[in-house]
C-alpha cells in the first residue's frame, strides 16, 4: 500500500513509520476490530465471551499459538473474571497487536516444510493415524473434534491418506476466496 502511494520500489523506514501511525490506518484498524468484535457480541452490549477471543483475534488475520492466547486473555480479563471481555479493554490490546503485526501469518512454504518434517519416511503423504498421533499428542494438542474436522477436509477419500501438498495448496487457495 505504501509503495503504491509513493510509486517507488523502495520504502524508507520513515515512510513505514509515518504510515503506520497515520490516523487513517488507526481508524481503519479499529473499525476492523470493532466489526469482528460485533460478530460475537450476541447481546449487543459490547461484551464477548472470553472463549471467543481466540476466534476473534484469528479472524483478524493473526496466527497466535494457544500459549500466546493464554497470555492475551490473562491481560484482558477483569480483576474478578466474569467470563466476558469488554470492548473497551479489547480494543487497545488488539490495536497494538495489529499495528505491531504480531503473530505473523504462516506461509505456504513453511507449512509444507512442517508437513515434510512429520513425513519422516518421505512418502509424500501421511497416514491419518500418523497425523492424528502428532497433532493430538505433540505441541499444543488438538481436541478430538478439531482432529476430526481437519481430517474430514484433509483425507483423500479414495486413498485414505493425506496428500499434504495438495491439502496445503487447497487450503491456502480457499483463504484467498
Amino acid at each position: 500500500e505504501v509503495t503504491e502511494t509513493s510509486k517507488k520500489s523502495i520504502v524508507t523506514f520513515s515512510e513505514i513509520h509515518h504510515f503506520l501511525l497515520s490516523d487513517t490506518i488507526i481508524t481503519e484498524t479499529q473499525k476492523r476490530i470493532s466489526n469482528a468484535f460485533d460478530v460475537f457480541d450476541h447481546e449487543s452490549n459490547k461484551t464477548v465471551d472470553v472463549r471467543e477471543i481466540g476466534t476473534i483475534i484469528r479472524s483478524l488475520g493473526c496466527f497466535p499459538s494457544e500459549a500466546d492466547l493464554h497470555d492475551i486473555i490473562a491481560e484482558l480479563e477483569e480483576e474478578e473474571p466474569t467470563g466476558f471481555v469488554r470492548y473497551e479493554k479489547f480494543l487497545p490490546t488488539m490495536t497494538k497487536i495489529l499495528l505491531e503485526r504480531k503473530f505473523r501469518p504462516i506461509t505456504e512454504d513453511l507449512l509444507l516444510q512442517a508437513f515434510e518434517v512429520l513425513d519422516q519416511q518421505k512418502k509424500g503423504h501421511l497416514e491419518p493415524e500418523e497425523l492424528t498421533k502428532y497433532l493430538t499428542q505433540e505441541g499444543e494438542p488438538f481436541t478430538q473434534e478439531e482432529m476430526d474436522e481437519m481430517l474430514s477436509a484433509a483425507v483423500d477419500p479414495d486413498k485414505n491418506v493425506i496428500l499434504y501438498k495438495d491439502f496445503v495448496s487447497m487450503m491456502t487457495f480457499d483463504d484467498t476466496r
Binding site: 473499525k31 479472524s59 507449512l111 518434517v117 505433540e138 478439531e146 477436509a153 487447497m170 480457499d174 483463504d175
Partner: protein, 766 residues
C-alpha cells in the same frame, strides 16, 4: 567414542523430536487460524439467516397493515366489493349435518391400482408403523383415508382439554420434540434414534408441524395416527403455524392442493378445524410447562384451562362470539364458521401504550381488524343474521352490552364479555407467538406482530405463581438444536435440522425422566451433507445466505442509491467502504457486520472505493422482458411479493391456483393505492403479458410469483459465455443454473482438484 556416539545420537534424536514438535505446533497454529475464520463465516451466515427471517416476518406485518388499510379507507365500489369480500369472508354457513356431509369420505372410491396403505379404523400400532414406512418410501396416502383419519382425529381432539397433563410415573421417560416444519426426514430420524411412540415411549410434540418443508401433510398424518393409537401417550401442542392463514403464506396450503388436487380443499377445511382444536400447552408432573411460543407477564394457566380454544381459529381472525345483535352475527361453536364481529375499537389490549417509532405496528395489532371489517360488510352480515337461528333469551344480556359496543367511538361500558374475549385471545397469542429476551420486562413482539418478548423476571414470576420449574418452548431456530436461557429456566427446542439451508443447524429432541433432568439428543439429517467436509458445509450455507442477502440489497436499490448519492455529493459514482457499510445499515436495519461481509458482496474495489452503479448491475433482478416496467415499481412489488401472493391465494377461493384477471388487476390497484404508487393499467397489462398467461382471462399465481425470483447473476454469466441462450425470453431458472453449474464446475473446479465424476454428479444434484 561410544559415549560420543550416544551423545550425538541423543542430540540428533532430540533435535528430530524437537523439530517434529515444532512442526506440529506450526500446523496446529495454522489450522486453528483457518478454523477460526471458518467459524466467523459460519457465524455471520447464521446472523444473515436470522435477520432474513426477521425481514421475512415483517411481511406478515405488511399484510396486516395492508388489510387494515383496506378496512380503514375503503368503501368498495361494486366491482371491488367482490374482491374485498373474498378477502374477508369465510366460507358458507354450515351446520353439523352439513359439515358431516361435506367431509364425507364414503363415496370416495380407492382404485385397485392404489398401492399405498389402506387404513381400517380403529387404527392399531401396526397400521401406524406401516404408515411411517409408506411415507418413508415416498408413497402418498389416498384422500379417502386422509379424510377418514382427520375426521377421527377431529373427534378425539374435541374431547381433549386445553392443557395436556402428563406424568412420568412408572419410570416412563417422556420425549419432547420441537418444530418440524414439514421436514419428514427429521421425524424419521427421531423415530430411528428414539423409537416410535408407544405405551412405553410417550411423546410430546410442540407445534409447527407444517409449512416451509415439503412433507407437512405426511408429518401430520403420522402424528395423528399415533395420537389415535396411543391417546394417552402422544400429546400435541398447537404452534403458530397451525393456522390456515399462515399456511397460505408459508406453503402448507400449496402443498396440500398439489398433492390432493381433487379433495384438497376439503382436507384443508377439516385441518382448519383440527388446528383450532389442538391443545394449547402440556404440563409434565405439574412441574414442566411445554408450550410452542412462550409466555407473557399476564399468562394465567387457570384462564387458559377455561377458554374455548376452538374459537380461535387464526391469529388473523378475531374470535367468534356467542352473541347476536342488530347488525352483528350470531355464532355458535359448531354451527357456523367463524364470522367477523364487531368489537369496540379502543386500541389493542395487548399494547396499551404507544410503542414509539414503529408506528404501523402500534396502529394495528392482530386484534384490531374486527370492527372495521364489520362496518364495511354490514350488508353481508345482515343477510347472514337473517339466516341465523338464535335464541334471544339466553343472549339478551349480552345483546345489550354488545349493541353499546357497536358504536365504534363510544367508550365501552364494562362489557365483560368483550373484555374476556379480548383477554383470552391475547393469552393464546402470547402462548403461541412469544419469544424470550435477555433483559427484564415484557414488551410487544414487534418482529412477529403478535405475542411478546418476555424477560427473565417474567419467567421467574410465572414459574413461582404456577409452582413450575422449567419452560420448554420452540418457535425459534437454534444452531445446536436447543438452547437454554433465563438462567436455565427456559429451554428452546428446535427439531428441524438444516432449517435455513443444508448444514445450517442441528435439530434436537429431549428426554425427561422422573427426575425431570433433560437429556438431549442432537442430529442433523445428513443425506445431503454426507461426504461434505466441515469447510464445504460452511461454504454451501454461506452461499445461500449471501444469495438471499443480495436479493435484499437489490430490492432496496432505490433507497440505497439515494443514500449513496447523499454521501457522494460530487457524483463520482464511487463510495468508500466505510460509507458503504453505514449507508446499507441505515437503509436495511439488519444489524449485520457489513464490513466483515463486504468481500462476499462486492466483487472489486478500486483504491478502496466501490463503483456503486456497477455494483447494482451485478445484483440485477431478472426482469420480465418488457422494459417499460419501471425499476422502482418492480422493486416495490418484489418487496411486497409475499403480501401479494397471500392475497392472491385468499382470493383464489376455489383453490385452483388461478385468479381472474380482474381480481388480479383489482389487487394490484389496491396495493398501489396503499403504497402510494402509480400502477397504471398499461403496466399491469405488461406484467400480465410478460408472464405466461393462458389467455383465458386467468392468471396462474405460481407463474406470476416465479417472475419475481432473482437469478444468481455470477452463475448466469459463466453459463452465458459458453452457451448463448436461444431466445431472449424468460428462461427457466433451473435450466440456467444447470447449465452454469455444469460449466462452472467443469472448468473451474477441475483445475484445482483431482476430480471424481461421481462426486461432481452428486454435488450437481444437490
Amino acid at each position: 567414542s561410544k559415549k560420543c556416539y550416544k551423545l550425538l545420537h541423543h542430540f540428533f534424536f532430540h533435535r528430530v523430536l524437537l523439530k517434529a514438535m515444532k512442526a506440529a505446533v506450526l500446523i496446529q497454529r495454522w489450522y486453528r487460524q483457518y478454523a477460526a475464520r471458518m467459524e466467523v463465516r459460519r457465524r455471520y451466515t447464521w446472523n444473515i439467516f436470522q435477520s432474513m427471517e426477521y425481514a421475512d416476518l415483517q411481511d406478515q406485518i405488511k399484510l396486516y397493515n395492508f388489510l387494515g388499510y383496506l378496512m380503514d379507507n375503503f368503501t368498495p365500489s361494486s366491482t371491488e366489493r367482490n374482491l374485498i369480500s373474498h378477502i374477508f369472508r369465510e366460507n358458507e354457513v354450515c351446520r353439523d349435518a352439513e359439515w358431516e356431509r361435506y367431509f364425507s369420505y364414503n363415496n370416495i372410491t380407492v382404485p385397485d391400482i392404489y398401492s399405498g396403505p389402506r387404513l381400517t379404523f380403529p387404527l392399531d400400532m401396526d397400521q401406524a408403523a406401516h404408515l411411517v414406512e409408506a411415507f418413508k418410501n415416498k408413497q402418498q396416502l389416498h384422500s379417502r383415508y386422509v379424510l377418514q383419519l382427520l375426521l377421527e382425529t377431529w373427534k378425539l381432539l374435541r374431547v381433549l382439554p386445553n392443557i395436556n397433563r402428563v406424568s412420568t410415573c412408572h419410570s416412563k421417560e417422556i420425549t419432547i420434540c420441537g418444530d418440524l416444519h414439514g421436514q419428514l426426514e427429521d421425524l424419521l430420524l427421531i423415530f430411528y434414534k428414539n423409537g416410535m411412540p408407544s405405551l412405553e415411549k410417550p411423546y410430546v410434540f410442540n407445534g409447527d408441524y407444517v409449512d416451509r418443508g415439503k412433507d407437512s401433510i405426511e408429518i401430520l398424518l403420522i402424528l395423528f395416527a399415533f395420537l389415535l393409537v396411543f391417546p394417552g401417550d402422544v400429546y400435541l401442542n398447537r404452534g403458530n403455524h397451525e393456522d390456515h392463514i399462515i399456511n397460505l403464506r408459508y406453503g402448507f396450503t400449496k402443498e396440500v392442493l398439489n398433492k390432493y388436487k381433487l379433495h384438497g380443499k376439503r382436507i384443508l377445511k377439516l385441518l382448519q378445524k383440527i388446528f383450532s382444536w389442538l391443545p394449547l400447552v402440556t404440563v409434565i408432573d405439574q412441574r414442566v410447562l411445554i408450550v410452542h411460543g412462550g409466555i407473557s407477564d399476564t399468562t394465567d394457566l387457570a384462564l387458559i384451562a377455561r377458554v374455548d380454544r376452538h374459537r380461535y381459529v387464526s391469529a388473523l381472525r378475531p374470535p367468534k362470539k356467542k352473541t347476536p345483535s342488530r347488525t352483528n352475527v350470531y355464532a355458535d361453536s359448531e354451527r357456523y364458521d367463524e364470522m367477523i364481529i364487531c368489537k369496540n375499537r379502543r386500541g389493542s389490549l395487548t399494547f396499551p401504550k404507544p410503542f414509539g417509532a414503529r408506528e404501523s405496528f402500534q396502529r394495528r395489532s392482530l386484534q384490531d381488524f374486527s370492527s372495521t371489517v364489520a362496518r364495511t360488510l354490514g350488508e353481508e352480515f345482515e343477510v347472514r343474521r337473517r339466516q341465523a337461528e338464535f335464541s334471544l333469551s339466553s343472549f339478551s344480556k349480552s345483546h345489550r352490552i354488545l349493541s353499546s359496543a357497536l358504536s365504534s367511538d363510544s367508550e365501552p361500558e364494562s362489557s365483560e364479555f368483550t373484555d374476556t374475549g379480548n383477554d383470552e385471545w391475547k393469552q393464546i397469542l402470547d402462548l403461541l407467538w412469544s419469544d424470550p429476551m435477555s433483559h427484564d420486562g415484557c414488551i410487544p413482539n414487534e418482529v412477529r406482530g403478535g405475542g411478546c418478548y418476555w424477560g427473565p423476571d417474567v419467567t421467574e414470576g410465572f414459574l413461582n405463581r404456577h409452582n413450575l420449574q422449567l419452560i420448554i418452548r420452540s418457535h425459534e431456530c437454534k444452531q445446536d438444536g436447543y438452547e437454554f436461557c433465563h438462567n436455565r429456566k427456559v429451554l428452546t427446542l428446535f427439531s428441524a435440522s438444516n432449517y435455513y439451508e443444508v448444514g445450517s443447524n442441528r435439530g434436537a429432541f429431549v428426554r425427561l425422566g422422573p427426575d425431570l433432568v433433560p437429556y438431549f439428543v442432537q442430529y442433523q439429517a445428513t443425506s445431503m451433507t454426507r461426504g461434505l467436509s466441515f469447510p464445504q458445509n460452511v461454504k454451501r450455507t454461506e452461499h445461500t445466505a449471501l444469495k438471499v442477502l443480495r436479493e435484499q440489497l437489490f430490492v432496496h436499490k432505490s433507497d440505497l442509491l439515494s443514500a449513496f448519492q447523499e454521501i457522494d455529493k460530487e457524483n463520482t459514482g464511487l463510495i468508500c467502504l466505510n460509507d458503504w457499510a453505514s449507508a446499507i445499515e441505515r437503509v436495511l436495519h439488519l444489524d449485520l457486520p457489513w464490513r466483515v461481509l463486504h468481500p462476499q458482496l462486492v466483487s472489486s474495489t478500486t483504491d478502496g472505493k466501490l463503483d456503486y452503479h456497477g455494483w447494482f448491475r451485478d445484483l440485477a433482478l431478472k426482469k420480465p422482458s418488457s422494459e417499460h416496467i419501471e425499476q422502482t415499481m418492480l422493486e416495490t412489488l418484489y418487496r411486497h411479493r409475499s403480501t401479494l401472493e397471500t392475497i392472491f391465494r385468499i382470493v383464489d377461493t376455489d383453490n385452483s391456483g388461478l385468479i381472474t384477471f380482474e381480481d388480479f388487476r383489482q389487487t394490484l390497484k389496491l396495493l398501489s393505492a396503499y403504497l402510494k404508487m402509480e400502477i397504471s393499467d398499461e403496466v399491469i397489462n405488461e406484467l400480465v403479458i410478460s408472464t405466461d398467461t393462458n389467455n383465458d382471462g386467468s392468471i396462474d399465481i405460481d407463474e406470476f410469483m416465479e417472475a419475481f425470483r432473482l437469478v444468481d447473476k455470477s452463475r448466469l454469466e459463466r453459463g452465458k459465455s459458453l452457451l448463448k441462450p436461444a431466445t431472449d425470453t424468460f428462461l427457466s431458472i433451473h435450466t440456467l443454473i444447470e447449465l452454469a453449474f455444469g460449466f462452472f464446475f467443469f472448468f473451474f473446479f477441475l483445475k484445482k482438484h483431482s476430480f471424481k465424476f461421481s462426486l461432481f454428479l452428486e454435488l450437481k444434484q444437490q
